[in-house]
Amino acid sequence: MNRRHVVWSTLTVLAVAVSASVGLFAQRPGPTGTQHGEWPTYGGDLASTRYSPLDQIDRNNFSKLEVAWRFKTDSLGPRPEYNLQSTPLMVGGVVYSTGGTRRAVVALDAATGEMLWMHSLNEGKRGESAPRLLSGRGLSYWTDGREARIIYVTPGYQMVALDAKTGVRVAGFGKNGIVDLKQDFDQAPIDPVTGAVGLHAAPVIANDVIIIGAAFETGAIPKSKSNIKGYVRGFDVRTGKRIWVFHTIPRPGDVGHDTWGGESASYTGNTGVWAQMSVDEQLGLVYLPVELPTHDYYGGDRAGNNLFSESIVAVELKTGKRRWHYQLVHHGMWDMDIPCAPVLMDITVNGRPIKALAQATKQAFLYVLNRETGEPVWPIEERPVPKGDAVGEWYSPTQPFPTKPAPYDGQGLTIDDLIDFTPELRAEAVKLVAPYRLGPIFTPPSVSRREGPIATLTMGAQAAATNWPGASYDPETRTLFVASQTSVATLGLVPPPLGVATVPYHQGTVLAGARTDGGSGSNASGPAAAAADALSANLTVQGLPIIKPPYSRITAINMDTGDFRWQIPFGATPPNIANHPALKGLNLPPMGRPGNNNGTLVTKTLLIAGEKNFGPTPSGQRGAMLRAYDKATGTEVAALYLPAPQTGSPMTYMLNGQQHLVVAISGGTYTGELVAFKLPREAMPAGR
C-alpha cells in the first residue's frame, strides 16, 4: 500500500481513538429521545411525551431514593431566585440547565452535580425590563456528531449559542454567538431595551432548525389595542441566520387576514407562541400552539375569529410554510392561551392507525387531531355560545366543542358545581354567587355592575386546568396523563383608571377595581374592597373553596378510545378542609390539593409528579411530596419528601448503571434548587 494510504489510515485510527476516549461531552447525532437513558430535549423527545423507558426506579424502591446531588441557583444572578421552572437536559454524562435571576446556563457533572461551566449575559436594563423574568423553562441541545451546542433565549430576548463542552459562545453564530431576536422581526422597529417581548420557553431544535416563539406581559391590562406581534421564526442552528418567519397574524393577502375586522390585523399584537412546541421530523412539521391576540378579556378592537390566535398551526420545519391549522377558540376573551406543547402520538382508533396529536388546555378540553391533516380524530362540533354586553365587542356565535375525550376538569360554573358537603354550605354558596353571572363554558366576561352582575364566574379559564407544564404520554399503553387544577376565574370588566390605557375595559370588578390602580385609588377604594365581605372577590364559604372537590386531579386517557382509564385527586386533602368544623363527622373523600396542575413524568411503570405548594408531609417537616403512581391504575405507590414544591417538571436519566430522577424545587423562603435522586446501592433491583 502506498504512503498516502498509510498516512490517512493512521490518521483515521487516531481520530477514532481520540473521539472514543472522550468520556464526558461524548456526542453523536440523535437520538432525539430518551431511548438510551438520556434526556436530550425539554419534553424528553420532540413529541413532548415526557416519557422514559427506564425501570430501575419502581414502586418498591421509590421511597428509598436518596439525594445524589443538589445544585442551588442562588448566585447565578444578582439575587436569589424563588421560582425555578427548569427541566434540565442530560446528554453524554452532562446535565445542562438554565438557572438564576439572570437566566444563566450551567453544565453539571451528571454524577455529582459539580458545576463544569457557567455562562450568563448581563443585559443591563434590557434584561431588567423584560416581560418574562427569572430563569425560564430550559434550553436546547444540538449536535451533528462533530460539535455540540447549547441554545437558549435570554430574558432580554437574545438567542445565544454556546459550545456545549466549554460554555463559550460560538463565534460563527449570529454576532459573537448572539442573535438579537428583537431585530429582523418583520414589523415596526422594536426598541432594544424597552420593547416588551421576550420568551421563557426552551427553544426546540430539529433538522438543524431552531424554532423560536415569543412571550409578552400578561394580557389582562393592556395599555392599548396595539402591541408587538409574536411571529414565530426558524433559524439556522449553525449560523443563527433567520430562515423563515410565520406570521401568526396574517398580512394582507395571506390566508386568514379576513378574520380580522377593519385594520385590526395591522395594529393588534401578541398572538405569539410562548408554550413549548413539538416536532415530527419525519413529516417535517413543527406544531405551534398559539396564544390570544392583544387583550385577554376584550376583543372589541379586533372583530372576527382572529386567525391564527388560539390555534394549533402545523408549519414546515424547513420553510415555515403553513400546512394546516385548527382554531380551538374563536375570538378569544377567556385567556385560553394554548399553554403547552401538543403531544404527538401514533394511535389506533377503531382499527385505523392515525398519526395524531393531543393538546391539553386551560379549558380542560383535550383536542385530538390528525397531525398530518389537522382533522379532528373524534368530532369537534361548532355549538352556539352565549353573548355578552361589553360595548363594541364582537362575539363569536359558536365555539368548537370536542366530543371526545370528555372534559377532564371543570368548565363554566353552575349551581351544581358549588360546594355541597352539607345543605347549609350549599345555600351559603348560592347566596354568595347570586350577584355574579354563571353559565356554561364560553360565557363571556361581564361588564361589572354594582347591581349585578359583578363579574362572570367560570372554571376552565385564565389559570385553570392545564398550564405550561402540559401533559405526558406513555407510548407503550397509548395513555396520556394530565394534571389539572380546578379553579374559578372572576371575569369582570371595568374601565381602566384614567390615563392608564386607551382600551375601554380592563379586567376587574366594581368591588375591587381594575387590576392596575395607577396608584391614585381612583377606581376602587380600600374601604370598598374591605367592606366587600360577603361579596368578596375571594369567594369562599366559611373559608372553604366555593366549588366541589376534587381541587386538583390527574387524568389518564386511553388515546385509542378517548375514554378515561382513571382519574384521581392529586395530593392530600388540605388540613384546613379536613379539620373544618362545618365538616365534622362527615365521611370525606380524598380531595386533592388546590393548585396542583404540575408537570408529570412517565416511566416504564410509574407516573411521577410533585406537588406545587407546601403542605402536610408525613414527617411534619415543612415541604411538599413527590408522588409516584402505578401508571396503569393511578394508585399512589410511594411518595418522597421534598423540602420545597416542584416548580419545574421532573426528568430522568441513566448514568453509570444508576437511574437518576431530577426535579427543580423552590418556593416560600426556599430558593431555587435542582435535586437529583438515585437509589442507594443496596436498594437497586438485581440485573437492572
Binding site: 439575587r79 436569589p80 431566585e81 424563588y82 431588567e128 425590563s129 423574568l133 427569572l134 400578561t218 389582562a220 391590562i221 385567556d335 385564565q462 389559570a463 372572576t490 376587574g508 370588578t509 375591587a512 377595581g513 381594575a514 387590576r515 392596575t516 390602580d517 395607577g518 396608584g519 385609588g521 376602587a524 380600600g526 374592597a529 374591605a530 368578596s536 372577590a537 375571594n538 369562599t540 373559608g543 373553596p545 388540605p574 384546613n576 379539620n579 368544623p581 390539593r593 388546590p594 393548585g595 405548594n613 407546601f614 403542605g615 415543612r622 418556593g667 416560600g668 423562603t669
Partner: protein, 144 residues
C-alpha cells in the same frame, strides 16, 4: 394543708402546660398590626403588587394569591421576618428591592387585613429580628 399544696401544684402544672402550648413567641393572631398601617399598605399594594397579584391580591395568571388557603399553606409556621426578607429581596418581580422596609411591612399588614386577621394597637416594625418572633399562621390555634 395537703389540699392546698395539691391544688397549688396542679395550678402550677396547668400554667406550665398552657405556657408550653402558647409558646413565648407570638403569632399574627395576637394583634400585631394596626388598621392605619394596613391602609398605608393597601396604597403600596395598589401601586406595586396588584398589577400581578390582582386588585385584592387574589392571584392572577403569573402570580399567586397573597391571601387564602394556598398562601396560608405555603407560609404556615414561617416567621414574619422571613416573609419580609422574601418580599424585600425578590419583589416586585420586575423591580425587586425597590420598596422600603416600611413599605414592605405595611404591605404585610394589608395582607393580614385581607386574611381577616384582627388588628392590634401596635404596628409591625421593620426590624427583622423582632418580626422573626411573630409566626405566620393561617388560622388561630384555638380554631384548629
Amino acid at each position: 394543708m395537703r389540699f392546698w399544696l395539691a391544688s397549688g401544684i396542679l395550678i402550677a402544672a396547668g400554667v406550665v402546660v398552657a405556657a408550653g402550648q402558647g409558646g413565648s413567641s407570638r403569632s399574627v393572631w395576637d394583634g400585631v398590626y394596626t388598621d392605619a398601617q394596613a391602609v398605608r399598605g393597601e396604597k403600596v399594594s395598589a401601586e406595586h403588587c396588584a398589577r400581578c397579584h390582582g386588585p385584592t391580591l387574589n392571584g392572577a395568571e403569573a402570580a399567586p394569591a397573597l391571601v387564602g388557603d394556598l398562601f396560608n399553606a405555603n407560609w404556615e409556621g414561617v416567621p414574619l421576618g422571613d416573609l419580609l426578607e422574601r418580599i424585600r429581596v425578590s419583589m416586585p418581580q420586575d423591580m425587586p428591592g425597590t420598596l422600603s422596609r416600611q413599605q414592605n411591612v405595611d404591605v404585610i399588614a394589608y395582607m393580614l387585613k385581607l386574611g381577616k386577621v384582627p388588628v392590634g394597637t401596635v404596628e409591625l416594625v421593620t426590624d427583622s429580628a423582632a418580626l422573626g418572633e411573630i409566626t405566620f399562621q393561617g388560622k388561630p390555634v384555638a380554631d384548629r
